[in-house]
């Protein structure tokens, strides 16, 4: 480059707003739209829910609208159905997550192997995860259908069943049926997560262990499990929270019936808001949901801190 005569820089007048402040303002202006979205659709509504929970607020009885303090919470503590839904939520979350984890782990181990057509199989196996909840619910409602459902038909053909079973309207079986559906849907989530974890483990570790004479089980126990532990904790915790909050599937399949056999706390909240239009009570229930979730998250954060220290 040839030297171009440059006029000596004159000292620029000091800008009205300093560079640092301008940077900050640009940053904040980029954040503004997202912050407004969150404010309007999450933060304000949560505040409103907390306020609503202190009022007697039934949509079709506006004349009864009044402040009742902790009235909704007292009602909640005395509501046998509420305590039942907490227990049902536990069964629903525990059953779903444990089975999803075990089956998802098996699926991840299978999909991690090298074989021809792996990409296609992997994609097909993950498909249930992307499907809308309503669709999942309806597909399985049809599979469970007592007279024309294929599940009864196959079980009878195999000789494991004599009479047709009304899976979703039997108080003893409905919960197992919806949990099984949720497992079908959730296996891909664990498969994806754990597969990503497996792929991050260096292959040399296995080869070295192999040379040292470690068998399949020993390699699994001493390499795979410890190295996957962080991702197992994260995936399980997010899944527990998600399943606890998830209402769509049960709402579509049984609406919490028969006789509240599948009523979990989130569907019960939905029912109070959507069907009974009892917003005050629904808000109190959702505040409780939120508290349960926060307690769980706090416990989870403590646990992961432990994981980091160990790892």
């Amino acid at each position: 480059m040839t030297a171009v005569p440059v006029p000596l820089a004159a000292r620029r007048p000091r800008p009205l707003i300093s560079w640092r402040v301008r940077q900050l303002m640009v940053g904040y202006s980029y954040l503004l739209p997202a912050a407004l979205c969150m404010l309007a659709t999450v933060v304000v509504p949560i505040g409103m829910a907390m306020k609503m929970s202190l009022y007697n607020d039934v949509l079709y009885k506006p004349q009864d609208y009044r402040f009742i303090g902790l009235g909704n919470y007292v009602r909640l503590a005395q509501d046998a159905v509420f305590w039942l839904t907490l227990w049902n939520s536990f069964v629903w979350v525990f059953g779903s997550v444990v089975l999803q984890f075990v089956a998802g782990f098996a699926a991840a181990l299978l999909l991690h192997q090298a074989f021809t057509g792996r990409a296609v199989v992997r994609m097909l196996a993950l498909l249930p995860w992307i499907i809308p909840g309503v669709v999942v619910g309806l597909i399985w409602e049809w599979l469970y259908q007592p007279n024309y459902g294929v599940i009864n038909d196959l079980l009878i053909k195999a000789g494991w069943l004599h009479d047709r079973i009304a899976w979703l309207s039997s108080p003893d079986l409905a919960m197992a049926a919806v949990v099984f559906t949720n497992v079908w849907r959730g296996i891909p989530f664990f498969a994806i997560m754990l597969l990503a974890g497996l792929q991050a483990i260096p292959g040399e570790l296995y080869e070295a262990a192999h040379v040292d004479g470690a068998g399949v089980l020993a390699r699994f126990r001493h390499i795979t499990l410890p190295l996957l532990r962080p991702i197992i904790v994260v995936a399980t915790a997010t899944r527990i929270i998600w399943t606890f909050n998830y209402a769509d599937l049960i709402f579509v399949m049984t609406s919490g019936g028969p006789a509240n056999a599948t009523q979990i706390t989130s569907t019960y909240t939905l029912l109070q808001a959507y069907a009974n239009l009892d917003f005050g009570y629904a808000a109190a229930l959702s505040v409780v949901l939120l508290l349960v979730m926060l307690a769980f998250t706090a416990a989870y954060l403590r646990l992961t801190r432990g994981v980091e220290e160990v790892g």
Binding site: Y30, V135, A196, H210, F251, T269, A273, Y274
Partner: protein
């Protein structure tokens, strides 16, 4: 390569052979079986559908269920489909625009409350959406937005924005700063550096995130049933549920509706699964 290894033991050979193949076959059959059954159902005529004993394969495959569902005046599936397409597309575009800006700001600017903000975006992903129904319904009623697309689109932000911002922060942090800095030395301001340098580099990730916003909005049910009352305003998820609510369940048209609702997201998933999976697992693997 194989020769350098110690000889495989029996368990190893079994695991790589029969166990692997039977496991894969079970997995695929379990994942796909229910879809295939629904597809077969949708191709059966009414007589075949309710035949005893059960008829597994349609003898005379017919598309009448699809035509029925699509054109029915009582449950206008074509209308549901267009509603979903519109709500999800607008949600996708708006969410992406908002979260690109926010993600960039969080990844590049240091400011007070940055960590708190990130934590809020993370925490809101864990909130139950049933929590929002009563307050949002009150809010939309007060604003006269019941039975409008706006109400559904705004409500969708509550779950799309936190997630997409979170993903964007990850993408932008992985792009080296030097590139924009040199662009800014060359005379770009922040915004044009973002548009000309950063966005092209982050494009694949942004596209995947956008599609993800589309797919999760496509599945949304609770807001759609709570904030609409007219049949014509229902989205696919709400419309399918509405089809069930009509007198007796018509499994023929319903199964056709189920298949039609599944196909768009399945196609998107096929094209984008690699990106999506990468985006979803990146944070978890790192942590």
């Amino acid at each position: 390569m194989m020769r350098r290894r110690a000889p495989a033991d029996l368990a190893d050979r079994l695991l790589r052979g029969p166990v692997l193949w039977s496991g894969l076959a079970t997995l695929t059959a379990f994942a796909l079986g229910p879809f295939i059954w629904m597809l077969l159902t949708s191709l059966k005529s009414r007589e075949e559908l309710y035949a005893t004993p059960l008829q597994y394969l349609p003898q005379h495959p017919t598309f009448e269920n699809y035509v029925d569902a699509w054109t029915s005046p009582v449950t206008p599936f074509s209308r549901f489909f267009l509603n979903s397409l519109w709500v999800c597309s607008v949600t996708m575009v708006a969410t992406t625009a908002v979260s690109v800006l926010a993600g960039y700001a969080i990844a590049r600017f240091r400011f007070a409350g940055r960590d708190a903000l990130l934590l809020i975006f993370l925490a809101t992903q864990m909130f139950p959406s049933v929590l929002l129904i009563a307050p949002l319904l009150t809010q939309w009623r007060a604003l006269g937005l019941i039975d409008t697309y706006q109400a559904l689109i705004y409500s969708n932000f509550s779950f799309t924005v936190p997630f997409t911002v979170w993903m964007m922060v990850g993408y932008f942090s992985s792009i080296p700063r030097d590139l924009e800095e040199s662009a800014m030395i060359d005379g770009c301001n922040h915004f044009s550096a973002l548009c000309r340098v950063v966005l092209p580099l982050a494009a694949p990730g942004i596209a995947a995130t956008a599609i993800f916003a589309f797919v999760v909005s496509w599945s949304e049910l609770l807001f759609a049933i709570s904030f609409t009352t007219e049949t014509d305003m229902r989205t696919l998820s709400a419309g399918l549920l509405y089809m069930v609510g009509q007198y007796e369940v018509q499994w023929g048209p319903l199964s056709a509706g189920v298949i039609m609702s599944t196909v768009p997201v399945a196609v998107l998933f096929v094209f984008l699964q690699r990106h999506l999976i990468h985006g979803l697992t990146a944070g978890a693997v790192k942590g």
